[in-house]
């Protein structure tokens, strides 16, 4: 008697598995950590140091936890907005550009209002939101009016924003007393975000991020526009049947995600940096895309995932300063996390089975 040949097959489930919807990011994280340990080993360090550098060291002190939360803030702000956009099938890949635009706008207001004191920081943050919205509105208009693919347009605008930032810090906003370095003058105290915790750099921006997440949650779960946004992403024909305006969904999601990304940029320059420099963002806008996915496109998930991603950043910095590991590894881990997540997500809608193969 011959045993039938078998092979592993992915068999569709009847309905999506709730368990795997939340277990998949954990599986992806596990796989990424395993890869991290492997890489550490290959580079001559102890694999366990990988775990400690990324997950233990950063949280070892009050200051450490504050740094993690500080790093998580721009990620969370961007990711909350992106969660809304991606749910509506509006692929805003250019959050990085909107963040930079927001930082330029905030710097412009902070510098223009130097010496005026008072609530300058509020004006700067509002300007940041406006800057991000304006940058995103270009993408929205081109998609609305010309049907231009928003992925490519928003991405092209990232390069434009980076060049604009470079121009601005080398030229109009350059600090005359800065020894020729490409950076703006330091902002006044009045233009800086108030600190939350003594002895740390944690600032009010983190509260803004939490507020944004809470508001987004409310909108998604309870509001009409939130429902319309979800339907637009799940079944555009049903949205048309219901009479939902796809134009309204497009503009709302792009403007909101642009504004949040802009605030993230403004909070960076009015927060820990205190000035405008060419390195406003080490790719937060792109990392936020990963954060949004890991957070299951849910505002609360986005907050949790942003803390995870912050650990990746800080762990990378610690590995560099303490072990001499290159910090560019962080980018590798981020990419791996997203890739493993996409792979693990297949288990939400499919089951792994041993199937009788063709004889």
């Amino acid at each position: 008697m011959r045993l039938p040949a078998t092979r592993l097959a992915l068999v569709p489930r009847g309905s999506p598995s709730l368990l795997w919807t939340w277990a998949s990011p954990l599986l992806a994280l596990g796989l990424t950590v395993a890869c991290g340990m492997l890489l550490f080993g290959l580079l001559g360090k102890s694999p366990w140091q990988a775990v400690s550098m990324f997950f233990v060291e950063p949280l070892a002190s009050k200051r450490g936890v504050a740094e993690v939360l500080l790093k998580a803030t721009p990620l969370a702000l961007c990711a909350v907005g992106l969660s809304l956009a991606f749910r509506a099938n509006v692929w805003n890949i250019g959050a990085e550009g909107q963040l930079i635009a927001g930082s330029i706008a905030a710097a412009a207001v902070a510098l223009a209002g130097a010496g005026s004191g008072g609530w300058l920081v509020v004006a700067a943050i509002v300007a940041a939101a406006a800057g991000g919205m304006a940058w995103a509105s270009v993408t929205a208009w081109l998609r609305d009016r010309f049907n231009a693919n928003e992925i490519l347009v928003s991405l092209m605008l990232v390069y434009v924003a980076q060049l604009l930032l470079s121009y601005v810090v080398h030229g109009p906003m350059k600090d005359p007393a800065g020894f020729g370095f490409p950076q703006s003058p330091m902002f006044d105290r009045a233009a800086r975000l108030p600190l939350l915790l003594d002895g740390t750099r944690l600032h009010v921006g983190s509260l803004l991020a939490l507020a944004a997440a809470a508001a987004a949650w409310l909108v998604l779960a309870r509001s009409v526009i939130g429902f319309q946004l979800r339907v637009a992403g799940l079944a555009p024909r049903a949205a048309r049947y219901a009479g939902f305006s796809s134009r309204r969904v497009l503009w709302t999601t792009l403007l909101v995600s642009g504004a949040l990304a802009g605030i993230a940029g403004g909070a960076e320059v009015a927060g820990p940096m205190g000035q405008l420099t060419p390195s406003v963002s080490p790719g937060y806008g792109f990392a936020a895309i990963i954060v949004a996915f890991v957070g299951r496109l849910h505002p609360v998930g986005a907050v949790a995932a942003s803390i995870l991603m912050a650990l990746f950043y800080i762990g990378g910095e610690l590995s560099q300063s303490r072990l001499g590991m290159p910090s560019s590894l962080t980018g590798v881990y981020q990419g791996l996390l997203l890739l493993f997540l996409l792979g693990a997500d297949t288990l939400i809608v499919n089951r792994l089975r041993l199937r009788a193969a063709a004889a």
Partner: protein
């Protein structure tokens, strides 16, 4: 007149990496798959080609290594998108991010390094002809390879059964599957071809065009190549025109900066990106026209077991 000739020659050389990447993208998009990871694939193959050329001294080996790197990343994409049925757009983004990060990591020991010298480019004697010489005969072999590749793809797509099968899969993978065409196999082959092309493009950039390695040196060329395929409405000969035009835009703004046109260099450097946006908007304006020319199943998931 001479400047025009020089500009034209430079445009062709500048457009070649985008041409290579775009023709590869065209082939796999014709089967209905969108791989946004091109930028990351180009960067990975750039650093791999640079490293291999630097360490082995052989340019040919470098090109081979670059192609392999590109094809490998394409295979990773294929596994996630075709076998695991992951969302194609997100998977491509993941590959782009991974490629960008990994290339920066691998490239650390190579920044600031130089490469062994090459012989002069082009066909001897002919390249010294006035005007036509540099434009037509003065290029690196890969420029001519790229041109031939485009012509070969055009012939293959519309004149052979393989091309018929490719276009059928892109239009309706369900019907293709019903008719017995191995949809996954066809898409995998197309993706590997696309990856090898992106690999060639990256290798050319890092070992010929500007023989050095710098992080993110592709500067968005991969994304522009994706847009190019849309402009060209998925037709190979139009990709040729578009790529050289873009090379031209890049060269023109460098030239203008060079002759002292009074504008900040950063603003001038925005030209290719802004041009991409403008052309994309103009092309997409008529949604019916796009729909008519676009492979109907582009980006949509296909699971015959569902």
């Amino acid at each position: 007149m001479e400047t025009v000739a020089t500009l034209a020659a430079a445009s062709i050389a500048a457009g070649t990496p985008m041409l290579l990447a775009a023709i590869g993208i065209l082939v796999h998009e014709r089967t209905g798959v969108v791989n946004l990871g091109v930028e990351g694939m180009m960067l990975m193959s750039a650093i791999v080609a640079f490293a291999v050329t630097h360490d082995s001294g052989s340019h040919a080996l470098g090109f081979a290594a670059g192609m392999l790197a590109g094809a490998l990343l394409a295979a990773v994409f294929a596994f996630f998108a075709l076998v695991l049925h992951a969302n194609q757009y997100a998977t491509g983004l993941a590959i782009a991010l991974l490629g960008t990060g990994a290339s920066a990591f691998i490239g650390l020991p190579y920044s600031g390094q130089g490469l062994p010298a090459r012989g002069a480019d082009g066909i001897a004697v002919l390249r010294d002809l006035p005007l036509a010489g540099p434009v037509l005969f003065g290029h690196h072999p890969l420029v001519y390879v790229a041109l031939l590749l485009v012509l070969a793809v055009a012939w293959m797509l519309f004149r052979t059964r393989a091309g018929l099968v490719l276009r059928a899969v892109g239009e309706s993978p369900e019907s293709a599957h019903a008719v017995g065409i191995p949809v996954r196999g066809v898409r995998l082959a197309a993706l590997l071809f696309g990856g090898a092309c992106a690999g060639l493009a990256g290798a050319y950039l890092a070992t010929v065009y500007t023989p050095l390695w710098a992080e993110n040196m592709t500067a968005g060329r991969g994304w522009i190549a994706l847009a190019l395929v849309v402009f060209a409405t998925w037709r190979p000969l139009r990709v040729l025109v578009g790529a050289y035009l873009f090379g031209g835009v890049t060269m023109l703004q460098l030239y203008l900066q060079g002759i002292g046109v009074q504008a900040p260099s950063q603003l001038m450097s925005m030209a290719p990106y802004l041009a991409t946006i403008v052309v994309l908007a103009l092309i997409s304006r008529n949604p019916r026209w796009i729909r008519l020319n676009m492979p109907a199943s582009l980006g949509k998931p296909f699971n015959p077991n569902a």
